[in-house]
Symmetry: C2
Subunit: 434 residues, 2 copies
């Protein structure tokens, strides 16, 4: 049974702290196996990748067939039904329009000392996107990872997607095409991450790797971090719905089940001011759990990690929400904009009952790759910013150096860094001799 | 002897690749020891921190004296000579002015479907800054880490700084005061990182930890990552100077020694179009190495990792620089602005011979915490952005949901996520019934 907490009871703080602290993920320790795979790919390149693909995906490749050929992609994409193609196109267009607004601006100014200061943003040159195969092979994730990279100006964007038994998902290929992906490799697992990070004869190395994956992929990303950049290591998905009494409990139930159906470790929490609403949502969830296709997964998630929290007012709801720092936050209340002003930590906010979280997964525009496990306290969802980096700029004039150089020299001496001080002093002496 | 490479020789590519690939850091493996320290602090809190401080810093503390008292700070700060105080104040002011311009802007707009989209930036609530003790206890690093956090709006900023044998650095305390730091704890090592991440009775936990440290601190930061955010794990410092023939070789020699004196593993590289300049800089470095206070460290760095690369023209220099992706890049050429346009990967650029890198370490304004070990290919220096996070916002209207909801439903079905589709369908059905 999901937990029921009442914020007005004396033991609430203890129960809420336990809910916050509960560990939902129990990743298998595959680190040693992954270290071996990475070492093998570094040592033997293509040959290792091909052998591992044969072993794990039951698929025989050659250096020439590691990468999808353009005509194969064409043929597979042609299978996509028209209505799916149109839906994916709409999603791509909306995601592109949203992310285009995220491009940060360069800056340059002259300060009162006469120094020119500023910064400049440049894209990562080459990025790799890991796309899971099989059941979790989501075309929407391809769009959400690839479009920000291309908007940022990444010149070379490679995808790896395992195709167990040679079966490819035409929608994934179409999404890659719509997003402007340059290369698609039919490989997966730690071997794909290693190939992207270190390169092989057939696969050039990239500078940054993003995208979701299983425990092997996550462990491999952790291991190659430093050699290349990586995005966050995502945990199981979560939703928090804050609802007042004026809602359709069925809508809220379905929104909560949208998270629960992802993963047995997913978490759906309802905070409400209305006890009757709490009960009605619980009942609606149970009803849907009788028929939902993924009822086994969703049911286990709901029973193990689901929670309903009754609060005296929406101010308390906001305080609890900020302690949870949810990945997805739905505000199903009369004044969602007003309540959102009180939210300080959340990956994404969905304002009002007309905004189901599922809209954000596909066609809303904002990214669906978001910080999980309370990491919205210190991190953000995927964005164009993940594919650019800043170079700071400084240019002194003789006058500027005369104005601020002596302070630099003083501090260098105080830190016992003599050469630092001398590098400034040599120039100041030259100015004094002029 | 430092390496000498000539870009026009047939074996240059091989030599350059070896220079790029050379590993400069050989961190001791302290991970097991660090895991134990973290577990101990989590289990026993203050008691563990106090015991470990006694063992490593030969300093006996109580829960009451873990933190510096305001009057102690006052007394120590009073020792700082006036000229050092003024230099630090100038640095703080300039760093604050530069970083204030980095605050990102919120956005909100209504798209053609009628949906309101946007994002909002919020600061991290509490941050912790690790400051090394002893020789590497740099007040400038306190300013560079703490000021961006305070500019971002971090409400609670705590510093940990070990004080071996009870000896504190007054300049570090003054820097903390100038930056607006709220709490200063006299602890260090992995135990300080653990205390910041998990909290103890006397030290409240933070959400993000930044700052440099030794192998223990770096390993502890890696381990607590996820529980809290961390900044980059910095490697040894590097400088690349690109110089034409019209330079004072002594200035360039001192700039290169500024990096070399930091650390035996630091790296200084000169790329020049002028063979005579190359020789003159080498000679000037050797001359300074006879007298420099830190000549042992700087000499070892220069002999083991220093390099001079002769190139036919500045275009080649830019291409090589982008492959190196240096932490610090000095452009000592006639048209530094023009050359900087060709630079795609660098942490910080110092334009023209009047801008020694040391200016950037102290009083330039830009941050001196910068990506090392070629990570400027995919990451940026420390900034206000490290202390804020983005919450995306989406608000549908009935009309917007009617326009884009069906596409979301189609994609949900194609990904076999039934509840996602139903959560949209329930709302669309309601609209159709109206």
């Amino acid at each position: 049974m999901p937990q029921f907490l009442d914020a007005t009871t004396p033991d609430f703080e203890e129960q809420f702290a336990a809910l916050l602290g509960a560990k939902r993920e129990d990743s298998p320790d595959v680190d040693a196996a992954v270290a071996e795979i990475i070492a093998d790919v570094r040592a033997r390149g293509d040959a290792a990748v091909i052998e591992l693909t044969e072993r794990y995906d039951r698929l025989t490749l050659t250096p020439e067939t590691l990468r999808f050929a353009p005509e194969e992609i064409e043929a597979l994409i042609a299978e996509v039904p028209q209505h799916e193609r149109e839906a994916l196109e709409l999603a791509a267009e909306r995601i592109r329009a949203y992310h285009a607004r995220q491009m940060p601006e360069d800056a340059s100014w002259v300060d009162e000392s006469g120094a020119t200061l500023g910064w400049r943003w440049t894209p990562v040159s080459a990025a790799g996107l890991y796309v899971p195969g099989g059941l979790a092979s989501y075309p929407s994730s391809v769009l959400m990872n690839a479009i920000p990279a291309k908007v940022a100006g990444v010149e070379r964007l490679a995808i790896t997607v395992p195709t167990p038994d040679g079966v490819a998902n035409p929608l994934v290929l179409l999404a890659a095409r719509l997003a402007g992906v340059d290369e698609i490799y039919r490989i997966g697992g730690a071997q794909a991450v290693a190939a992207l990070a270190y390169g092989t004869t057939s696969i050039a190395p990239v500078d940054k790797i993003t995208g979701p994956g299983n425990a092997f992929v996550a462990a491999a990303k952790r291991r190659v971090f430093g050699k290349v950049g990586i995005d966050m290591i995502a945990g199981p998905s979560e939703i928090l719905v804050i609802a007042d009494g004026d809602n359709d409990p069925d809508w809220i139930a379905l929104d909560m089940l949208s998270q629960a159906e992802h993963d047995e470790s997913a978490q759906s929490i309802l905070i409400t001011t209305d006890r009757a609403m709490a009960k009605a949502v619980e009942a609606a969830i149970e009803r849907h759990l009788l028929t939902l296709e993924r009822r086994e997964i969703a049911g286990k998630s709901w029973r193990d990690y689901g929670a309903v929290i009754l609060v005296p007012d929406l101010d308390v709801a906001a305080v609890l929400s900020n302690r949870i720092a949810p990945e997805h936050l739905e505000l199903c209340v009369a004044d969602p904009d007003g309540l959102s002003e009180q939210i300080t930590h959340a990956g994404a906010i969905f304002l009002g009952a007309w905004t189901p979280e599922a809209i954000g997964d596909y066609v809303g525009g904002p990214n669906h790759v978001l910080p999980t496990a309370r990491s919205a306290r210190f991190s953000s969802g995927l964005s164009v910013m993940d594919f650019v980096k800043r170079t700071t700029l400084a240019k002194m004039t003789p006058a500027a150096l005369r104005a601020i150089g002596p302070a630099a020299e003083t501090l260098a001496i105080s830190e016992s860094l003599e050469a630092h001080g001398l590098s400034v002093r040599a120039r100041l002496n030259h100015l004094n001799e002029l």
